[in-house]
């Protein structure tokens, strides 16, 4: 059995047939079936989504500290890695913690997307493909074909003629992106994040001009569920993307400060997840300000920093 057959047997077919079953019990309303199905799949994958989102949030919170470490250790990659690992350990963050759940979810998203796409077969070739993936022993599933493609003003197999869905796709995706991202201390990730926040929703909105309406509904629902989950996580972690941690606010102020003005000294963010006995003490984010030395640093590192400061001066 090849990868393609394995994929079809273990992902596509179970999801596709579940979707068709939902369609049969939800009054033959395919838009409603897509909605319910998307919500169910997102809820089932919640145990994977939460660690991923939490880990991502924690990593974002640590960004200012990582930048500090980078400044402190300069090109000493070994020391930087050691300090970084210590920081992760103190904060209780697994740097790869967000990757695994995301990797596990990825095939589920693709399976969900493909099953909706297959179920919405509108031309003979698509219906022929669909025929090979329906469980014949499952009562009445074949009788559902073709699915009712009418919903409100929409033909679910065709793009929205009034462009309402593409706008909703872009808007919901933009709102989700805004919630998911927080200002980063790293300028490269900051610019990347900003580009993603605007480009991705615009891109999907643009694609949705040609997508069948059923798929647009899926994108909207997926974003809405994502928003709800993200709001929940932000609430639990005591974070708000519109109200970033104090050090990041000061950082952005600091970068706008005219040359020569004295930096404002602020405390390290008091986020519960990174508080511990060995947490890094209060730091100054101004480039000219004296830096406190974390416990455990060796004299070689102190010398390096002194030399760097002299050089700067």
């Amino acid at each position: 059995m090849g990868i393609s057959e394995l994929w079809t047997s273990f992902f596509l077919q179970p999801m596709l047939n579940s979707l068709l079953w939902l369609y049969s019990v939800l009054g033959h309303n395919f838009a409603l079936s897509i909605t319910v199905f998307t919500i169910i799949v997102r809820l089932v994958t919640l145990p994977l989504t939460i660690p991923q989102m939490t880990s991502s949030k924690k990593m974002q919170v640590l960004q200012p500290k990582l930048k500090e470490l980078k400044k402190k250790h300069g090109d000493d990659k070994e020391a930087m890695t050691r300090a970084q690992m210590d920081l992760y350990k103190e904060a209780g963050v697994n740097p790869m913690g967000g990757c695994l759940p995301m990797l596990v979810q990825f095939p589920i998203w693709i399976g969900l997307y493909q099953s909706i796409y297959q179920a919405m077969a509108v031309n003979p070739i698509q219906v022929l493909d669909l025929s090979q993936n329906i469980y014949l022993n499952f009562p009445n599933l074949s009788q559902m074909i073709p699915l009712n493609d009418q919903f409100l003003w929409l033909n679910l197999g065709r793009p929205d003629p009034y462009y309402i869905l593409p706008v909703l796709v872009a808007a919901s995706m933009f709102f989700q992106q805004k919630l998911m991202t927080m200002p980063s201390a790293d300028p490269s990730s900051e610019s990347m994040t900003k580009s993603m926040t605007y480009t991705m929703p615009l891109m999907f909105g643009f694609f949705s001009l040609n997508f069948s309406s059923g798929l647009s509904i899926y994108f909207i629902m997926s974003s809405l569920v994502g928003i709800v989950i993200q709001l929940g996580i932000n609430k639990v972690m005591g974070m708000d993307s519109s109200n970033p941690p104090a050090n990041e606010k000061s950082k952005s102020k600091d970068t706008k400060r005219p040359v020569g003005e004295q930096p404002v000294k602020v405390d390290v963010p008091s986020v519960a997840v990174i508080e511990s006995e060995n947490a890094t003490p209060a730091q100054d984010y101004g480039s000219n300000a004296p830096q406190s030395v974390p416990a455990g640093s060796n004299t070689r590192e102190k010398g390096k920093r002194r030399r760097a400061r002299k050089k700067k001066r």
């Binding site: 693709i110 997307y113 493909q114 796409y117 509108v122 031309n123 003979p124 070739i125 698509q126 219906v127 022929l128 025929s131 090979q132 014949l136 074949s142 009788q143 074909i145 073709p146 197999g157 065709r158 793009p159 300028p187 490269s188 610019s191 990347m192 580009s195 993603m196 480009t199 891109m203 694609f207 040609n210 997508f211 069948s212 309406s213 798929l215």
Partner: protein
Amino acid sequence: MEVHVLIKSLLKLVLLSLMLVAILSLAGCEGQPTESWPGLGMDGDTLYVSLGAKVHALDRETGAQSWAFPADESQTGQMFHAPAVQSPAGQVFVGSFKDRLFAFEAPGRDLWSFPTKGAIVGGATVMNDVVYVGCNDRNVYALSAADGTLQWAFGTESWNWASPVYEDGDVYVASMDHRVYRLDATDGTEKWRFEAEGAVADSPVLADGKVIFGDFDRQVHALDAASGAEIWSVATDQWVWGSPAYDDGLVFVADLSGKVYALNPATGDKLWEFKAGGPVRAGLIARNGVVYALSQNGVGYALDAKQGTEIRRFSPGDPQLAGRFLSDPVLADDVLYVVSEKGFVYAFLTTDGTTKWVFNPTSD
């Protein structure tokens, strides 16, 4: 921001976008089809192949292309069925996914076109200067062959992919709404309807006063043509898509599991079954004691109508190159004409299975 950081970010963004575009394109997420299967029809010495958005007229003897229409393919859109031809005028009628039925005449002169509100998947039927065609906008239309004016429209509850069948002043329409209708050909008045459990995607066959068809619920039904009452139904292994065939007191039907069945038209009893090498989507042909079936694995079979034994196979040299056999074949003068999914047309001699000629669509 430093230039290299900006470039790095842009590169990442471009890569991500490309990945997304690739995933979505691979999944073929657009509402309109990007491909179709060809249709094959015949009138006199000409074969008509609707391939993609173009109709090719081929010489039946040699396979040489006489003409193709239209020059600008963006006009027509993807086609799924063979064109219908009205003899002797030589008018050609074909519907497409561009929500329109086109009428033209050799060598590719526009006559008229009729706009619909949905794609036309099935073939048209022409009889007595009237064109009958089903549409995805849930209508069956009767149009004047001369100028395309609407005679009548009959509403169904789903797509109509089957070509209407004309017989004695009535048209029989199979619909994806699970029903088969008998309509008066002159004004579209409904005479009866029969509701099956599954969608009916291709035309019924009329035999011995019965209307016989298969559906997506894995059933073959025989109805009384006069009243629409069901006489018998018989189960198959998979969906039945292609039209059944009738010859010499036997009905033949195939399903998507690849099985070909011979049935007694009076009772529905199975006389024999034959398993082809792949699903059979295309309609069957039965003539002179031989049943011709095309399977999706790119092999055509000639079966003994009485026994169900294989007489011979028809196969293109390179099935990979040709693609699947999905379209209805045409049989004339001991030659079986087959068009493959990728548009290669094969003229197989039924006497020995050899290939008389091949039309390669990429070399026209």
